[in-house]
Amino acid sequence: MSGSIQDTFFEECEDLLEAMDEGLTAIEGGEHDQEVVNAVFRAVHSIKGGAGAFGLDELVGFAHKFETVFDELRSGKLQFDSALIQLLLRSSDHLADLVATARDGGSTDEAHHNVLIEALQKYIPEEEEDLTFEPMGLGGGMGGGFAPAPIIEDKERTYEIRFHPLKEMYGTGNEPFFLFQALSELGELEVKLNDAELPGFDAIDVAESYISWDLTLKSTEGRSSIEAIFEFVEGLCELSISSDSDAADEVNALAALDAAFGTGDDAGPALEPSAPFEAPVPAPEAEPSAVVEEKASSPKAETAKSEQRGPKPTLRVDLERVDRLINAVGELIINHSMLAQQIANLDAGDVRDVETELEGFKNLARDIQEGVMSIRAQPVKPLFQRMARIVREASSATGKTAKLVTEGEATEVDKTVIERLSDPLTHILRNAVDHGIEKPEDREAAGKETAGEIRLTASHRSGSVCIEIKDDGAGVNRPRVKQIAIEKGLIPENAELTDAEIDNLLFMPGFSTAKEVSNLSGRGVGMDVVKNAVTGLGGRINISSTPGQGSTFTIILPLTLAVMDGMVVSVADQTMVVPITSIVETMRGSDDMINSLGADGTLLSIRGNFVPICDVAGALGLRHCNDQPPGVYLLVETETGQRSALAVDDIFDQRQVVIKSLDGVCGNIPGVAAATILGDGKIAMILDPESIIAASPTAAAFDTERRMSNAIAS
């Protein structure tokens, strides 16, 4: 059982680390208010608390140091400065590592650990040191020394206990009767009420406590066991315990008790309260509680905070179960379409009622689908927060100063997309620090702030998710990029390329601008890997750059991997689907719109512009290009902004389709992204316009011609 609790602990740690990161990021951004500091403190504190329960000593030890520093900050004894904030950030990274190590095994960098501990130590006043934290395994041992002492002594002794509660005790919910009941479990107990102090009836002060008890306990337990029972009423009563046991025993027990309660004199300044808490009467408005301060902050900030920190009950579900549900709902929708079609084909007179019911069924199925899909959607926040660390590490490795600013963290994206986006984003960010952001002195010379800024933004954009990585660095060094591409034989020496085309060379396999492979963005992995990862998610990536001002990578991703909006078309008697996201417009063509170019090239004239025609059937090898000219065109735009007209036989309709991967069914088919099942139960290919155009001789040829004409023009 403790295993599963431990699992929850690690799951919770993820949330806590996230909260900690979020707070630290806010602090780094100059937000030092109490509630932010408290939130971080709480997160670290909870990690420590949980870790203690599972005996994760290293984690507990480090969290304790971290927490202590935060406690100093919280109480105002310590102020934030940039060195401290950097230390806290590095410490948070290390804490995350320690959690990961505790969960997955392995080891952390001990030297780094010690360096951080030492650095944190410098911020901790020495007297705070005595509050050592004793980790304890679940269910192991006795608690902190105040539970019945495990000293087994056979000798029965008689204790005389005099117990006189002060009036304060009655305000704390302590009930003498329960204490006596607990005592009676230690041995034979005699209770005698002593009301000698009770004044005459008219002199009674109802708030005062006049009653005391004389107790006689015959027990084999040590004195500390008895004192432990009175632990909660220490200071709220007059208590004397005397016994016939030897003096030494008492001294030892007292010492143990003092150590446990911190009530003894010798505990001294180490245990001095850090703030006066003497107020005996609870007075909510006088308490410096976090709640009061939150109310004091601006209403807007308060809403934002309660939104962030408010309890959000969640349910953790095995992803496989969700996916099974998604598949089942997909089948349900297909099933509906098939049913609808069969009813439509029925020769059964009036079926309008059935059709109405069926429409309701369809709407319900869509609702379920939407709901199930949303289960997989998660905010990009944790992903973005991890990226802050990447930028920090990359900055310190390159000796540059770069800051990550994130926006749109609440944007929700399919879980798998988030997972698979981690590597590409890491790579782009490292690249941005390594190649984009200039050295501080160069930035200064260019009149920029010495610290570079990388802006990571997520947003929803017409049915897609847009992730943007924008740096304020030097921008793509186009002459150099082109030079390298020529040297590496990626483009011919006389190639005439537009700026956008040069920028996109970065995505070509085997391209890397670093003179030597730096161990940061290097290892032989180029931006082509990033591009593959993005296209593998059904997304697109684009780069735009302004020399001296920086570069922007834009990643457009589908909202979910399971469904997409598609245009259902007919190609060579086959029904196929073209992703809506890539279609600019659709049109029916007439003969006078078609112009020949060269031997077999054709161009479509649209409002005076010529766009190469790409025959889909031909590109897919289903029919020769010139069999019969298809009459419908889908105008699509590629990454480089090049437009093409995809020629298809007919357009049926636009609908949401459930994506079925062809992985494992067949290998990679040029021009085909995936498959889907249509309403009639038939499978339809989902096309990848980009690769269809690449496979089309006309479009490719036109591209070359355009370049040549560009060359002549310039």
Binding site: I5, F133, G143, A147, G173, G262, L271, P282, P284, S306
Partner: protein, 124 residues
């Protein structure tokens, strides 16, 4: 009748640990994820004892004690605070607010039950 415990803690781990220990020992376990929810739940649960964390969002442990003690009918319910370490200033402050006692984190089952016994008289 089972002794009813209302545990208020923002840490899922701690709640799970408490639930496991208390249910094992035969207590009836209820939980709230922060002070505000705990105070709101209090009337409907009507627990025999409250265990509350101190550091929590929305309403902290001190706030819980004050609110429960502040309303006359609850002035007697035992309230145990969960503290890390034997932090004496937190204990002192909790007690002056009206806490009955405390449980030191990390707790083991025995010390937890022992603490409950001293404030409710119940072994379970």
């Amino acid at each position: 009748m089972k002794t009813k415990v209302l545990a208020i803690d923002d840490s899922r781990t701690i709640r799970n640990l408490l639930a496991a220990a208390l249910e094992e020992a035969g207590f009836e376990y209820h939980s709230a994820v922060d002070g505000r929810e705990g105070v709101d739940m209090y009337p409907s649960v009507a627990p025999d004892v409250v265990i509350t964390d101190i550091n929590m969002p929305n309403l902290d442990g001190f706030g819980v004690i004050e609110e429960l003690r502040g309303t006359g009918i609850n002035s007697k319910v035992p309230i145990l605070v969960l503290t890390t370490e034997s932090a004496p200033e937190l204990k002192a402050r909790a007690r002056s607010a009206g806490a009955t006692g405390w449980i030191t984190k990390p707790f083991d089952d025995q010390s937890l039950i022992f603490a409950l016994k001293r404030v409710t008289g119940a072994a379970a």
